[in-house]
Amino acid sequence: MMRIVRSTGWSKSVWLNCCLLALATLAPALQAQENGKRLALIIGNDAYPISPLKNAVNDARAMDKALRSAGFQTVTLENARKADMDRAIGEFLDKLGPDDTALFFFAGHGVQIENENFLVPVDFPSVATISAAKFACMSVARIFDELKRKRAKRNILILDACRSNPVAAKYSLEAGLANPQDAPGESFVAFSTGPGQTAADNPNGRDSWFTEALADYISQSALTVELNEVFTRVKKRVSEATEGRQTPWTTSSLTSRFYFHLPPTGDSDSDSTLAEKWMADARVREQREEWSEAIDLVNQVLQRKPGGALETLARNKLPYLTARKDALARFEAGDYAAAASSYEQALKLDPFAMDAALQGVNTYLLQDHLPEAIVLLKSMRLRGTSEALQTADQMLKQLAAVSPEAANEVQSGVPQPPPIEEVFSGTHFGVPDWDAGKRHLQATQVDITRWTKELKMEVPMPALLAVAAAPAQAPAVAENTLQAPAEAPPDHADDAQVAAVSNAIFHVEVVPTGDTRNLRLRADAAEEFGYVQFDGPAGETPVLFAGKQVVLPTKLKLPAGKYEIRTVDEGKVVNRQDLEVAPLSTQTYKVKRP
């Protein structure tokens, strides 16, 4: 009977299923806003033996989908028994950490007993006393107590459980839910209607008025408003839908702002694609004939002044939506003449709005205004789909009995459809949408890591002279090489810097151990030298030879002969290696720290 639906969080398919817009770009922002998790427990109970409901399970499913789109990890129970609810709540509480946001949603029957609220499981038994009834239900106070103990960052408790119910009736209890007592700190509590009042199921919808509105707003990725503002909108919408009979109720002790959807940078002004998202949402609203919502979104787009095709589209769309809203309002008020006029106006603004045309036809026919209705039917034949054309033809055939004009229209044959430019009026084919490009450039940055990660700026060291007082005895250092002096190296270092190195830091010494050739007597002695390449950490380790110093990596030009390479650390020789330098040879020595 009961079904548990679990989601473990961010999966691509969930995102794709949940929203049409590029929500993936919002995910990092949500993570940036909150270090903790977003966890939701959702329960929807329809299958009560007495007084079953028809929308609560749908409500739970709608909330599950909406909350997942807002980054919540959800656990959803459908038609839960008392034991199921106890266990699920326990597991839910166990998952909560101090940085987390906990959201508990219940749709089903709820009851207040002695000023305390209880949620009714589907296996609520027939009990004789109020006390027994309490034990058979889930106590909201108990949930509050557990939430207090867990100290989550914030707790959001939403109860769509204010319907008239069998428990209340059986024990002659007060209707609706009680004002919540002793809610935990950092909590937000919402009821589908005010305390002590009852809410109606939505007889024509799949969901209750309250949950339908709430899930809808939570699903809107572009609706980047704070939690309280979301509920302000829910209250307005439910109140309008129920003509004031039901107004959701909220109370909050939250000290931090909470957003179901946050713009990428946390600052909506910096998201250049937000206007596009709003416009996409507006089009969805338009299709659902939610004119007020669509108008709000289009106005938001226009306030942002996105320029280009998007702004043109929004500017053109606004009077159309307004005309449709007016038409509906006037039609519902019974002012058919004004409604028909508004429908006609809407059709002028969007000649392909066949539903407006049809509504207009019906509204004119209600007033027996045949010529006006036929004009709209002609429009349907000209611009509508084959289906709209068939509908128009059928209506014209019926009207042909009383209207020669209708008969003529039917006999005139199928008109040629308008050119494609007319179908997509407002779109300038062949002309780039410069502003869309600009928005794309603002929103997209090319990652250049692949080019920069290998970049180097090593500067070749120039030929440096070891500074000495006597110029004729100063040995030369070729580029990155230290050449041995012509004379035999002195036994002592005459350079204070070299002395300091010798005494203290890690370094390498090159010490002749046998005869080296006396080059002083040779005019051209290039073939009497060999080379030793010293490799190791660049710039760190000095190499000393003949009282002179260079740093790694370096190539020493040494008179041919025998040497000992000493690695010295803190004044002690930690490694020795013999090396024989042959004329014109090149060897490599790797310096390793102990």
């Binding site: 459809p417 920069t452 002279l465 110029p471 100063a474 040995p475 012509a486 040779r522 002695a525």
Partner: protein, 395 residues
Amino acid sequence: MKYLALTLLLAICATAANWTDRKEYDLVLAIRAETSPQARLALLDQWKAAYPKSEFGQVRRELYLSVYQALGDSPQTLSVAGEMLAAQPDSAVGAYWFTLLLPEEKAASPEQLALGEKASRQLLADPKPAAGVERMAHRTLGWIHWQRNEYTQAEAEFEKCLQLDPAAAEISAWLGTVLATEQQPDKRVPALWQLARASAYQDSGALPDGLRRQSGEVLERLYTAYHGDTGGLDQLRSAAAAAPFPPAGFDVESVAAAALRKQDEELSRTNPQLAAWVRLRQKLEAPDGDKYFAETLHNNPLPKLKGTLIKADPPGKPNELTIGVIDPAQAEIVLKLATELPNDADAGAVLEFEGTVDSFVKSPFGLTVTTDPSKISGWPAAPVASPPVPKGGHK
């Protein structure tokens, strides 16, 4: 004007196009009504499959382009823009989007680069381009040259970009990367400047925080390698944040220049004569060394120097001496004497000399100086002959 004409031409072409049948029209109306980009894409695919030869092919591509754009699928948008250019080489929409999106392509083919260059140049050919288009075209051209390792052209394009939009920190990052990639000594400081600007500039046009931080890390790494440490890096950042290009004469001392400077300071203190010779030699070995020789040194007196004799020719009474000044074994100066010296000297003799600079060879380095024996000191005197030993020995 070209765009206007093109637009009109397209309009005429589009007007002339006809629906294949009513079902095609129905399909297009369904596409028009669809609000979900994914569903719209599916309908476009359906249209394409059912009417592959539709007269509205280019319009259909444009609709594809807008759908992929709405889906944030840049590779597909680029691909459609390429198709538009293939179908109509002067397509303004194709050229615009291809130019705009090409730099996002991670591994652009040579063909794509060629098409991107053509598209960019087409946009630049418009005498009255829309705002930002010229900058965007130079951005892409620079990027294309960069991918082809044509760094000088890439630099030129990015510089044009920065002249058009000095706030474009993205271009500063690209230009800095190109300059650093070149590994040319004279481009290192401009590279550091551009990377500093990319990482420090924070007004409108700045890089997003993540990329700014990345640029900053690259800058610090390169700056440390170049300068030896991070000293002066903050000043560089501040200066670069205020201007897109370095002021004339701006320099950052490299670790090599610092070493040379320290050497010069030390030599000037301990051995000014040698310091002067090292400076002179550096000037002669610089790229404009020949010019310096001709204008400053030739036929002028050489300051007094000390050096080591390497070779004296001809033996016996030499009139040409080869001297090493820095390296006692490396010939640097040849002294040509007006008159010969009276005797030989061993290699290794330390001489002090002066003279007039005659000629210069850069590689292998050699300076020829004319002088005469009176201007050379340290030449050993001829050994005194031993008195003959009388025959018969001692009495």
